[in-house]
Symmetry: C2
Subunit: 398 residues, 2 copies
Amino acid sequence: MATIDEALAIIRRGTEEILIEDELIAKLKEGRPLYVKAGFDPTAPDLHLGHTVLLNKMRQLQELGHEIMFLIGDFTGMIGDPSGKNETRPPLTRAQVQENALTYQKQVFKVLDPKQTNIVFNSQWGDKLSAVDLIKLAATHTVARMLERDDFHKRFTSEQPIAIHEFLYPLLQGYDSVEMQADIELGGTDQKFNLLMGRELQKHYGQKPQVIITLPLLPGLDGIKKMSKSLGNYIGIDESAEQIFGKVMSISDETMWLWFELISFRSIEEIKELRDEVGNGMNPRDVKFLLGEEIVARFHHVEAAKLARENFIAQFQKGRMPDNIKDFKLKVRDNEPLSNIMKLTDLAKSTSEANRLIEQGAVRVNGERVLDRNYQIELNKEIILQVGKLRFAKIILV
Amino acid sequence: MATIDEALAIIRRGTEEILIEDELIAKLKEGRPLYVKAGFDPTAPDLHLGHTVLLNKMRQLQELGHEIMFLIGDFTGMIGDPSGKNETRPPLTRAQVQENALTYQKQVFKVLDPKQTNIVFNSQWGDKLSAVDLIKLAATHTVARMLERDDFHKRFTSEQPIAIHEFLYPLLQGYDSVEMQADIELGGTDQKFNLLMGRELQKHYGQKPQVIITLPLLPGLDGIKKMSKSLGNYIGIDESAEQIFGKVMSISDETMWLWFELISFRSIEEIKELRDEVGNGMNPRDVKFLLGEEIVARFHHVEAAKLARENFIAQFQKGRMPDNIKDFKLKVRDNEPLSNIMKLTDLAKSTSEANRLIEQGAVRVNGERVLDRNYQIELNKEIILQVGKLRFAKIILV
């Protein structure tokens, strides 16, 4: 059993904010398994590495003996967008929710211990809620308080419409904490307002308020924006070992250290040692191998991780990929032809040679074959452009 | 049967706004009994003359053959003020609502025809409403739209709190129109926003929108502020014939004409004739007698009205109250002693005489005996100050 201090150190790692830490200490001192709430959207069960920042913290709390409540917010999901403004958000049926939940479970149990995880649906109490209950809930907060939430504030001041039911959703999310009697709620920093609602409503309903723990948002492959499916800068939990390993290898060294802090299970001491070794001349690429292997092992298997590494080396290094591939940062026009980029990076001597190489299937971007001469390389993202087994360039287009 | 034009003329009389009149004409042309909604608060069943502006319009519509829906808003009344800020508004029990409803009925049937009046409670559908239904209702309108309502706008800009459930109440009131399939909704000018909600929600739920008819607010006995119980400037429907008659006699001539327009059942032509007669020298007091009798007859009986008039004359005129009592408009200090006012109006020669008259019970204000020498006459209000059976003065203190 961890001491309170040890538990605190584990909980603190990589968190953005613990509110209120003294209350957390008091709860830990009670010596009972704490109820840890974390809410998930029922519409998008395709988890990516960004979600695992949260899942890892849940796992750590599980290892400290606490009870994880994996909350699927299906109640509002089954309502959809009642204002009808957002056609991409049709109401989910109960069957769809169940199916999504199974997909979730399959994914989250790659990180969480199934035995200590309770999958909870908020429709369980939401469906029983009457209009009167909701009116009483709505009476607990003011319009001004709700407009403090960052996105509401921005929309209100820029005169973009906010439908009234949108004010009810944070209250309903907060009310979940009351029904679940949550001791702790975890969420991204962008969820802080909603997590605080839970605290306030618990107090209103005579419960001890939950401690809220916010976690930073994981930057995506680009190292700049938060990892998200819609930005395409993500690693899906369900991707193949090769895909995951290759994508980890594509991130910058700086991003790598951030990822170590936020998603690696290595101790803070181990990570510091790795940093020191790189400082003493170790190739950062070899440290990235360790990170790639760890992540692949988590979602597949340690054997799969080794294989992914070997395949990667076979593809890039057995073909004598130089230790230090040349870096290019190129300013390009709109729709710059791939052939031009190949010429600029010395991978082809002429447009016709470049196009011939593309047609022959000799050209790869991040290891993926490119057969279309109109292929567009994404801007502001480091990629490896490769011709045959021997010639490589690391490129950022701006 | 009235023609469309005749019906329109009757409906138009004394209304502030008909929105949209063309739609009203179309509905009248359908030739069926229209559903006319008017909402009443379940907490204050003590109706006064101010309410009868609305009740009279309902009565006129009844006489035109339409179906009156007297809506008692008990659904939100039974919730009370869930924010707990307003301790004077505790939730009503179902028994209290029923009791209040009976008191209402007893009162409104002095104006309305019971056979053509449906008493409706919105708890009938409100109690069945789920949180999901309310969320969908809330999704139909934006925060910005709700803040257009005058009182919300004022409170928001002056940073006074608005609890979120307050945004739900106008929606619920509007939803009543949907459930009732109202063709017309009546209300005071201060209710226009809520009446419009009904129109908008009916459209949203695929119904033809109700026509809204707003009625001006009746000025109270003071002729300035709107009649209300809390301001004390009212005539209660349940007051005695003598009280009602006396209070009508206390209003100014100007207010009298406004009351004729808003609450008399006399035709517009008859009222014009009365005005002309006063223009030709008739004493306005005699016209006021007609108004007093009409109002007493409505809430009591035509015999009671005659008796009230005779008693009033016996009290004021049999004591040879001069036909033209002297008028005084006096500018007074704070807490001006009654004795001074008596001296200024020639009702007493000295302070000591004035105080003696008060002690002897010889002094009356609007027919009510005054025994307290510290009695304060209300400012800006015409009153009759009387000493004994013979001496009178009509006074306005400013």
